[in-house]
């Protein structure tokens, strides 16, 4: 009797001999009769196993093939779509990459390029108003404006010029903060206050150098008065309207004129009132109430601005001595120049390189210093006073004017310059 392992070995031999076209394995010939009987049974089993499998008929083969190809034809359009869609992730990734690169480029240009890297002359070339912390204040040669070198931003003495502080009353770091708001957080956050402040910024920052004093005072100290007759204070309204670059859209120009003109027409009202002469608000002076009307809001002020017209005479009713004698006489002359320059800026903006130095000096000589000193402080606040004047409710508009005016009325008292 053979053991199980020996039978398995015999089966292996027998099965291997099957592959040799029926030739018997030599080892099988030497088996004992019992082993040969067991092996014979195993070989019968293998034959029975071979008989278990069925051969397919031609009909079955044909049917299966038709079914298979029909299924493939049904799936073919989806396979084509899938192959075409297999490229779309690559395209999508490439598009996202390009978008990311573009965003990075735009971000670098908006922040770094504007606020840190670009010089005022270069900002002009980029069509950006070089306002805020830009130190361009003194009249520069035309070549230096276009060049935007660091040397051009220095004093003749070699010291770097401090940032322009157009108002001596401006608090410390005001323009620096303003510039940060305009170019930093204002643009990053997507808020519109940056652009609004930029419109109200004083001149000299548009690239055309404003005649600022060469004093060494930083942002905190007020710059000393120039020895010559040229006024050191920038002209926000005139130059802002004058130096509108060609790239600025048409909507920007009217906003500037609006923000500039009310400074002269509407602001005298709230300034003069300041809670000093509340009773005089009832008796408007026709002469002055007429002047701000056509000049200030020709088109932008809707009929809702009528209550503000009743308020304006408040300013006019106050005696000129209360507000400062120098401010009121200077107003008509400036309004005339402002309207003239607004037409220039909106119609044909000048090239930055073409603006000569002497073109600004006459304006500086026109206006006396004391009258100009409150002007830059008014420029950011004029936008505030405009809003209450537009509102038709007189109760709402009176309150903000009263609260803000003490700061303005102080301005002439602070500047006792001749």
């Amino acid at each position: 009797m053979t053991t199980r392992t020996s039978i398995d070995e015999l089966v292996l031999l027998a099965l291997d001999s099957r592959g040799d076209e029926g030739r018997p394995e030599p080892a099988l010939a030497t088996l004992s009769p019992e082993d040969a009987e067991a092996l014979a049974r195993i070989l019968q089993v293998t034959e029975a196993l071979e008989g278990l499998a069925l051969a397919p008929s031609d009909a079955a083969r044909h049917r299966s093939r038709q079914r298979f190809l029909a299924e493939a034809a049904h799936l073919r359009p989806s396979a084509i779509r899938r192959q075409a869609g297999g490229r779309s992730p690559l395209l999508l990734a490439a598009a996202l990459l390009l978008l990311l690169l573009g965003a990075c480029y735009a971000l670098s240009r908006s922040d770094r390029w504007r606020s840190e890297v670009l010089s005022p002359g270069a900002r002009l070339l980029w069509g950006e108003p070089a306002c805020g912390p830009t130190p361009a204040a003194t009249p520069q040669p035309a070549a230096a404006i276009g060049r935007g070198d660091a040397d051009a931003l220095r004093d003749p003495s070699g010291r770097p010029r401090p940032p322009a502080s157009p108002t001596p009353e401006a608090p410390a770091g005001f323009w620096a903060r303003l510039g940060r708001r305009v170019f930093g957080t204002g643009n990053r956050d997507g808020q519109g206050e940056g652009s609004a402040l930029r419109l109200a910024l004083p001149s000299g920052t548009e690239g055309t150098p404003a005649p600022l004093p060469r004093g060494t005072g930083g942002t905190t100290a007020p710059p000393p008065l120039p020895p010559s007759g040229a006024s050191p204070w920038p002209r926000p309204s005139v130059e802002a309207s004058r130096t509108v670059p060609a790239g600025i859209s048409a909507t920007a120009a009217p906003e500037r004129t609006q923000s500039l003109v009310p400074r002269r027409s509407a602001t005298p009202g709230p300034r003069a009132t300041a809670g000093r002469t509340p009773g005089s608000a009832l008796s408007p002076t026709p002469a002055q109430s007429a002047t701000p009307g056509p000049v200030t809001r020709p088109s932008a002020s809707p009929p809702a601005a009528l209550p503000s017209a009743t308020r304006r005479p408040q300013a006019t009713a106050t005696p000129p001595s209360a507000t400062g004698t120098a401010t009121l006489p200077a107003a008509p002359s400036r309004t005339a120049s402002a309207t003239a320059t607004a037409g220039q800026g909106g119609g044909a903006p000048e090239e930055p390189s073409e603006t000569p130095e002497g073109s600004e000096t006459p304006e500086d000589t026109e206006t006396p210093c004391p009258s100009n000193t409150p002007e830059p402080t008014r420029s950011p606040e004029a936008t505030r006073t405009r809003e209450p004047s537009r509102t038709p409710e007189p109760t709402r508009t009176r309150e903000p004017t009263r609260t803000r005016e003490p700061s303005r009325t102080r301005e002439p008292s602070r500047t006792p310059r001749p």
Binding site: R4, I7, D8, E9, V11, L12, L15, D16, G19, A38, R41, I42, Q44, V45, T46, E47, A48, L49, E50, G51, L52, A53, L54, A55, P56, S57, A60, R61, R63, S64, R65, R67, F68, L69, E71, A72, A73, L75, R76, S78, A79, I80, R82, Q83
Partner: protein, 181 residues
């Protein structure tokens, strides 16, 4: 191998020529492999067709064979057979014999042979899965030891051992009944 790779690539594009070639090359073996386990011709035809339908579905979903097409098809056929046997275990069906012999004497032999075949399948079903797979591929599809080893991912020696032990187990189980004899 390169030809089969091209064939598979063309099949992924659902090219009819490639698909027809694949069906022509592998259908008979798959059919025999399935019929070895199920025993019924119609069921074997349906299951073999199901194997090729799953092949198309896998191609559509980005899957399908990566190395050998035959091994992938036999693997799918094994799953199809298991699913069929599971369904059949829940709802037993008795197939009608389509080709009954005309003569009564032949009928007796045919019935006897059919009963023996059924008994043999039952015994084969009692073997381990690897042993069943080896027997199905070796005796059903008629593949040589090397192809069986490639399809199962085993060495040729392991396939030989599985085959020998499976046949010896069958002979021991079938000895009192004399199925094999």
């Amino acid at each position: 191998m390169l030809d089969e790779a091209r064939l598979i690539a063309a099949a992924r594009r659902m090219e009819p020529a490639a698909l027809s070639a694949i069906h022509e090359r592998h259908f008979d073996a798959i059919y025999r492999y399935v019929s070895f386990r199920v025993g019924d011709a119609d069921t074997a035809e349906d299951l073999a067709s199901e194997v090729f339908t799953r092949f198309l579905t896998a191609l559509r979903q980005g899957g399908g064979p990566t190395e050998t097409l035959a091994g992938w098809l036999y693997g799918v056929a094994g799953h199809v057979i298991k699913d069929h046997l599971r369904r059949q275990y829940r709802r037993p069906q008795v197939p009608l014999e389509a080709s009954l012999p005309a003569a009564e004497a032949d009928m007796a032999d045919a019935v006897d042979q059919s009963l023996r075949a059924d008994r043999l399948r039952e015994v084969v079903a009692s073997l381990t899965a690897d042993q069943q797979a080896v027997l199905s591929l070796r005796f059903g599809a008629g593949l040589p030891i090397r192809d069986v080893a490639d399809s199962m991912g085993k060495s040729e020696g392991a396939v030989k051992q599985l085959q020998a032990r499976a046949v010896a187990q069958l002979s021991r189980l079938l000895r009192p009944e004399g199925v094999a004899g």
